[in-house]
Symmetry: C2
DNA sequence: CTCAAATAGTTGAGCTGGAAACAATCGTAG
DNA sequence: CTACGATTGTTTCCAGCTCAACTATTTGAG
């Protein structure tokens, strides 16, 4: 099934073979496949959706477990408008709180609460497990590292030259 | 800025370093960055959005320039429900038409029309150009190939073991 | 000091895609 | 031949996101 989908998407053996487009399709499909898998695993474990995990995990790793809205939005690669509402939901769920900056009253922080850490610990093994299936199955650790390096280069190129 | 975002997302040098999560974040961010770049390039050229290009390009490479809805949905990695409406929009724009199968009256095909080919030719150079910037900048062709291989393996692992 | 421009975040409208229920058709066991 | 289950596509409803407009604050030029 999936093999066939790839074949359709890039029409193996066609005259106009474009390695860039090939790679791009591969990124899109790998991303979609893994995202889908993670989503499914979370919902079937009766846990919140993936974006919640991303927020919690990102904040957890930040100094003082909090981040300016703008920084968080950039880390998650969504717009600030989208983030405001996403954070609103997590706050409503009691996982985060909004704190403010003394020296610049424009900025507000999304700050992790204990309940958020708790939920994060609950979600982490599920995500870790799914990622392990997706990655370790066919990739060595070195390959994963190399993969990451190349992808970051791509991202750099895509962001840099506006 | 972007470097910083990466640093935030994976908190360089943290105690709990998870190569899988690193790689996963890299995929997500690379995908988002390139998608954003493509979107921007298309809209600033007053062209339709990226999904339209994906539909047209996929159909263009298919035999007889048409595909069953289900096949197309799988190639684009979206649900069939979503595809129905996406195709509706392209039909309304006169780029596609819906054709039917003689032998199995359940299936309907999305079929490329000349106007669709024409638009595709207009969009292709824009997409090609952006992808070239994102990929060739820092990657050799061999690396791009290798990248694709690894990503397809990941996708296989993610799809396979349900 | 003052005011225009820049920056941070929020809000509202609109669009897109997903999940689930539905309709139509096919295939197959009996 | 019939009926039930599987498959294909559509439709309905809804959640989440983006875009653009807006508010509040800060910064910098004059």
């Amino acid at each position: 099934m999936s093999e066939q989908a790839t074949a359709i998407a890039r029409n193996n053996g066609a005259a106009d073979f474009d390695p860039h487009r090939e790679a791009w399709i591969a990124i899109t499909q790998a991303h979609a496949a893994v995202t889908g898998r993670l989503q499914e695993a979370l919902t079937s474990a009766e846990l919140p959706p993936l974006p919640w995990f991303e927020v919690l995990a990102t904040l957890d790793r930040a100094p003082e477990q909090r981040l300016k809205m703008g920084e968080l939005a950039e880390a998650l690669v969504i717009t600030r408008g989208g983030l405001t509402k996403l954070v609103d939901r997590l706050i409503k769920a009691g996982l985060l709180e909004r704190t403010f900056c003394e020296t610049d009253r424009r900025v507000s922080y999304a700050t992790l609460l204990p309940a958020g850490v708790e939920l994060l610990e609950e979600m982490r093994p599920v995500v870790r497990g799914e990622l392990a299936v997706a990655f370790s199955a066919n990739l060595t650790v070195e390959q994963a590292e190399e993969l990451r390096t190349m992808l970051e280069r791509i991202r750099g190129a895509a962001c840099g030259t506006s």
